[in-house]
């Protein structure tokens, strides 16, 4: 079944340890403080205790719905958003606790590609200047040498060198995304966070960018954290995938296994919601339609955060916070209703929670 890794070796390049990013929304109004004194602080727990290893040369896909914290997580890795607590270990150095100067040096090795190619390029700079900026910032190349590197980079991402003096508005969405990729590559990074890099693009352009990212990974031995809400893209590009829900990773495993044989009720619903471009499959398949919306991350539900929408939820799900446990080899899930002995939630007896003991033990250890 789940064989571990193919193209990457097993040593993590980057590890997150109990990473938390909380946003303080400040106190409520005077009136609220009088009426509900205990609840005056409102905190959005965008990322709430995530531990992940990203291995050398792999693509880890991070998938989830809007508001699940996946982009915040990606930004926190680079400290574009300050983590509240926890560690971001890059080559055994904790990025979360570096001084600004030390962080700057490390940033050379970690880059990001943004979702919106219209907003992430400075409209007053030429393409050449945009791609060259990181070279200047890090003092990596000057003069004619820098110029040559910029031209090489344009070529690498499939853009003509003629474009070097043009401005972002002269390019289409797909071309701009290529420019964003060239800028990220300029400093020769090891690790790239790709935050929804294809969501804003047309279908025919999405495939181009996915292929480009894969080709660059092979050529330059890059490691990706690929963030997307699109399960089809995640399944295609990732070696392993992590599913996030309301600030927590709820399932982790090989991308193929997660897609073909998901453990978590949430992942199952997510996959069944993806429309397939084949009318025969579409008319035959039974879709799991989840009720309700993702709850607000301001006051997330207790216990399992998915219990408010989960068709399998039992009383204990409201109370016990599930931990990410290895249910099958190299396949982790956070659900008290399954266990290594009984991994299939559909076959677990009604009301039973075979994973409850394991979870309670884990919770007792951590608290």
């Amino acid at each position: 079944m789940a064989t571990v890794e193919t193209k990457s070796d097993a040593t993590p390049l980057l590890s997150l340890r109990d990473l938390k990013v909380h946003f303080d929304l400040g106190s409520q109004s005077m009136l609220d403080r009088v009426i509900q004194p205990g609840r005056s602080k409102r905190i959005v727990k965008a990322v709430d205790g995530v531990s992940l290893d990203i291995r050398h040369g792999e693509t880890l896909g991070l998938v989830g719905e809007s508001g699940c914290g996946k982009s915040t997580l990606g930004r926190a890795v680079l400290r574009l958003t300050e983590p509240t607590s926890g560690q971001v270990l890059f080559r055994n150095q904790d990025l979360a606790h570096l001084s600004n100067r030390e962080l700057r040096e490390q940033r050379r090795h970690l880059q990001i590609i943004f979702q919106d190619p219209y907003a992430s390029l400075n409209p007053r700079m030429t393409i050449g200047q945009i791609i060259r900026e990181p070279l200047d910032t890090f003092g990596l190349a000057r003069g004619a040498d820098a110029e040559r590197r910029v031209r090489d980079l344009l070529e690498t991402v499939g853009l003509s060198q003629r474009f070097i003096k043009r401005y972002p508005h002269e390019f289409s969405g797909g071309q701009r995304q290529r420019i964003g990729i060239a800028r990220a590559l300029a400093v020769d990074p090891d690790f790239i966070v790709a935050d929804e890099p294809i969501s804003a693009l047309d279908v025919s352009i999405q495939a181009q960018i996915l292929n480009l990212l894969e080709q660059l990974q092979r050529k330059k031995n890059l490691t990706y954290l690929f963030i997307s809400h699109d399960l089809r893209a995640i399944r295609h590009i990732s070696d392993r995938a992590a599913v996030m829900y309301l600030g927590k990773v709820v399932e982790l495993g090989e991308a193929k296994t997660i897609y073909d044989d998901p453990l978590m009720p949430y992942t199952k619903a997510l996959i069944s919601a993806v429309p397939v471009p084949d009318p025969k499959i579409e008319s035959a398949r039974k879709r799991i339609v989840l009720e309700g919306d993702v709850p607000s991350p301001i006051n997330p539900p207790n216990g399992c955060r998915f219990h408010t929408r989960c068709p399998f939820a039992i009383e204990a799900c409201r109370e016990v916070e599930p931990q990410l446990l290895e249910i099958k080899p190299a396949h982790f899930a956070a659900c008290i209703r399954i266990s290594p002995d009984q991994p299939n939630i559909e076959k677990v007896a009604p009301g039973a929670a075979p994973g409850l003991d394991m979870n309670q033990k884990m919770n007792a250890q951590t608290s």
Binding site: A207, Q208, L210, H236, A269, P277, D278, I281
Partner: protein
Amino acid sequence: MSSANGNLLEVNDLRTYFETEDGIVKAVDGISFNLRRGETLGIVGESGSGKSVTNLSIIRLVPNPPGKIVAGEVVFNGQDILLLPAEEVRKIRGRRIAMIFQDPMTSLNPFLKISRQLMEVTQLHLGHTKAQAYEHAIKMLETVGIPDARTRVDNYPHEFSGGMRQRVMIAMALSCEPELLIADEPTTALDVTIQAQILELIKSLKEKTGTSVILITHDLGVVAGMTDHVIVMYAGKIFEQAKTAGLFARPGNPYTKGLLRSVPDPTAEQGQLYQIPGSPPDVAHLKPGCPFAPRCERAEEICHREFPPFVELTPDHHSLCHFAQEVFAASDGATNS
């Protein structure tokens, strides 16, 4: 009532042009299709293909200037909408033809209660009294699955989530039991699990009311599950038109084929994803010949020179391509994904 052949809507050679500094943009350039009662038609295309302008033209909402419907007929129930005085069109719009737009955040008025916005429609079109309209608004919210509708009806839009707002939009669109519902990318701004909810809702309401639906989307997966017929648009033209099952089983146009192949197939092994090279054309500066030719792997010399014919492959399957027959034959039973 309906025209003799059972068509609710007949669009004939519709042309909508925009005058821009860049020259004339032929956003929609000679579109024809029919929609039968109770049917769902999908219109697929990338940005700039003209799919939204087609539908704005049908309900005469093309901003003028710069846009103008320069030719064509939009026959709704035997009546050409393009010839009607504006006053008459206003009576049809919202009453007999209703629309849902992509972004539920911007299509509701943030200053007005949901109740007020829903009541407006039936007061105007059905002559409801305030009390009637209020009750009807609650009933509609219940129909689209808003829990606790009686209380929620007096909320403001910001108190609803994205999925809930789209439900409100659907409630509003269906308030007057329209004969035709035009849904322009109704789920694009929503998460997949919410998208599944909304699509199920549209499907079940359609079955209940018998409304015809035009569904505009860029997502071939959504089309596959929702529609009876599909139109694939590119550069303001219809590139392929067929029954949904037929189009997916046996595409007859290189563009459609490329689109289908460029969607990652989760069931297949990974590998290089098929990609259509280049980007969609600038409709203001179309060269002679087939607009897709510069990106087409099948293109030959004639494609760059002559505009392709609209070839009939089967009575209900058409493709705009010089080599439609060959492409159609080649995709028999073979590659559709």
